[in-house]
Symmetry: C2
Subunit: 447 residues, 2 copies
């Protein structure tokens, strides 16, 4: 099988088209032009694409919607991009067993809404939910605001079909709730960012739809107070379905963007979707008040709750208005969130850039967002210094270099610092065993 | 490093001692005598043991408490057993971050009670909880009655330390709630039954202790009625923390054993540990009544609930009194539970043996328990036929050959039937990459 033998509809080499598939949303990562974009319409065509790439000795970078933030979909020179955009079919939704089978190119929001129509719930809700694909979510093990209660994408993946580097089709996992037959190959593929195989079908576990959530929004006169509230809420084990923190820089940017009249050192947004959320919400309110909240607003009205969440949803658009942005992703032990946010404020001072911090405080997973000008070499260099300092700080605090965005090309060097040398070596061993010619997304995850 | 160079306290070769470490609780699996039992007291000593085994060219079978039911700890001829019994220290419990670090030989019940003393909860509760070890639970990805709400052991493993076949020490995972840095090596080791490395330290995520549960016990005039109640309860998505089914054969055995006065075609035991379990319990009661339950007993008293659960806890002891027993473990889609239990009754008729079925109906994970006489060749042959028929039935129903006990030596042939050929080949590739000389538990998982 060669590229010439692939159906003409599958292969695009026009440079304008190819440029649109060349990279994801990551900053600080090289952007090159791949030789071609392959858009297979079936697992068989994925097999043909991988065989053709093997014949030609070319690297293959698999790409969902290109919303990644770690350069995992950035195609190196001399590679081909395999787009999953035409593999966009929901194959089956089994209401009784609460599972769904789909191709990787299904947009996450579409899947969520298709199952919601049947009274079911697919929790993972990465920021890119409206445009990113289930395949990309699985490949990066994406998270979102749901994770404090519902975990990450990988927690919902029951089984996969994947095409290996040599073109063989492998099925992993099961359709039952439980099962321990054999090695965790499903989990090995989840989060492997296209370096071990091309995922062509996904079986997801679903939940019954929860009731609409009740919401608490609290502002604080200091970040430390907000941090104390987070500690109380998570320490109590209160059943919350969302627990987000916004720092003063982010709030100021949102205020400038929306005129919402936000002015606080920190804000917490908390939801509970229990059938009777009263006790949980009371407990959150009490925790915020005990931590010295300036203002606490509570609503059990779902629409009002959605309006209150709007500040959080405007965080990235507000930061975007300030310039180029690098939406970073680190995760620390919950007790270190305040130290992380304070340390990042110090980094912002040191490098002379605006860095807003917001994110999933309930998980310790924060998104420092560095604002810079990529056309100004000094500003770019400062952004890079800030990025390195923040990542180093997360490791110092006992955290990880990525909570939910993945390693990609942006953090492959940092992965090597986070992992112990033997684990890094075992990564290379596994990669070499499954992709001996290093053809699948080379340079991503492992540099 | 040779065996002679190991500290004398680590190596035991006395045949009486060795015999006590030769096998687990599985039936229908060969039992041989290993050459020696190694009981290292530290990770360094585990390294020395594996290096000595490598020098001597011997296979190493790692063993926790030996409560396994799939022969995963059965030592083949010419092997050494590595016992984790002296690696029994809880290293740390971090209340604030809700995690615990321990050596593999810690007894599961001890860990559960140590964290309970601090207001925390480690959910996994395999039937062997009082004697099995966390290391064994991780190696088999053990489950229990908690799984319907709380998932399996692997859902709680944040990170591991493991010694590889060549004696290198690898650390995987993290101490944060979230993290996607690198491949899922933690998940790869979980459930790998000692075939990929020897686990020497485990970091577990914990939960806040839930309130004492409320309990519903319902009896039914037919298995179909009970199955319909299970469908209603799981279909509604009612938040239950336990959902167990006992069939008529098991109930009769329990009645004979305890004189509890049980006589029904099927019984369901259901619990909810929500802070306010009222609505969930009402919903369970309504589901049972709508399905035609003969009798429904409800209590919110924890002690009374524990007494009601006693029938379930007596299931295995009651079956044990009838003869030798093979406690099997299959998992099917929830909608197929009735078909599975009815099919097993047919198998029991066909082979002329008593087979009681009980287990985790909320997960579709049932434990058909075959009663036979292993000293009677005909009875043994019938048990083997029943075992094969039940396992084949589970696969026919879209299920898996093991829901929570593991593959071990008992089901390695069945694993090869369940997996697709490429996935099986990738299992062998991963095994060869991490243990090129096939020294770790050869013959287990992969035959």
């Amino acid at each position: 099988m060669t590229f010439e033998e692939l159906p003409a509809a599958v292969v695009q080499t026009d440079s304008d088209v190819v440029a649109g598939f060349a990279h994801d949303e990551a900053q600080l990562v090289d952007r090159r032009l791949p030789l071609a974009v392959l858009s297979p319409r079936s697992t068989d065509e994925v097999v043909a694409c991988l065989r053709a790439a093997a014949s030609a000795g070319l690297a293959v970078v698999t790409r969902g919607a290109g919303t990644g933030l770690a350069g995992g979909a950035n195609a190196p020179d001399g590679s081909v991009v395999l787009s999953t955009r035409r593999l966009d079919r929901i194959v089956a939704i089994d209401v009784e067993e609460r599972l769904a089978v789909m191709q990787p190119g299904v947009v996450t929001a579409d899947l969520r809404s298709a199952v919601a129509d049947l009274g079911l719930f697919y929790p993972p809700d990465p920021g890119s939910v409206a445009t990113s694909t289930i395949g990309g979510n699985v490949a990066t093990n994406a998270g979102g605001m749901c994770c404090v209660k519902y975990g990450v994408t990988g927690d919902y993946v029951l089984g996969l079909e994947a095409v290996l580097a040599d073109g063989r089709v492998m099925r992993t996992g099961r359709r039952t709730v439980k099962g321990v037959a054999g090695y965790g190959l499903t989990s090995l593929l989840v989060g492997s960012e296209g370096t071990l195989g091309v995922i062509t079908e996904i079986t997801l576990r679903l939940l019954p739809a929860p009731p609409p959530p009740a919401t608490v929004v609290a502002t604080f006169a200091s970040l430390t107070d907000a941090g104390r509230a987070v500690e109380r809420i998570t320490g109590d084990g209160t059943d919350v379905s969302l627990l987000e923190l916004l720092d003063a820089t982010t709030l100021a940017a949102i205020d400038a963007h929306t005129g919402m009249g936000l002015a606080a050192e920190a804000m917490l947004l908390v939801q509970s979707d229990l059938p009777d959320p009263g006790p949980a919400i009371d407990s959150v309110q009490a925790a915020c008040e005990a931590a010295g909240a300036v203002d606490v607003v509570v609503t059990t009205d779902a629409d009002e709750g959605a309006q209150l969440l709007e500040a959080r949803r405007q965080a990235l658009p507000a930061m975007e208005r300030l310039g180029d942005w690098l939406l970073d992703d680190v995760c620390v032990p919950r007790r270190s969130i305040v130290a992380l946010v304070e340390g990042i404020a110090q980094v912002a001072d040191d490098v002379g850039l605006t860095i807003g911090v917001f994110g999933h405080a309930g998980d310790g997973n924060m998104h420092p967002t560095i604002v810079f000008d990529r056309h100004d070499p000094d500003s770019l260099a400062a952004a890079r210094r800030a990025f390195d300092a923040i990542t180093a700080l997360a490791l110092e605090l006992g955290g990880t270099v990525t909570g939910e965005h993945g390693v990609g090309r942006l953090k492959s060097g940092w992965l090597a610092r986070e992992l112990d040398p033997v684990a890094l070596d075992v990564h290379r061993t596994v990669k070499a065993a499954l992709d001996p010619h290093g053809r699948l997304n080379p340079g991503s995850v492992l540099s």
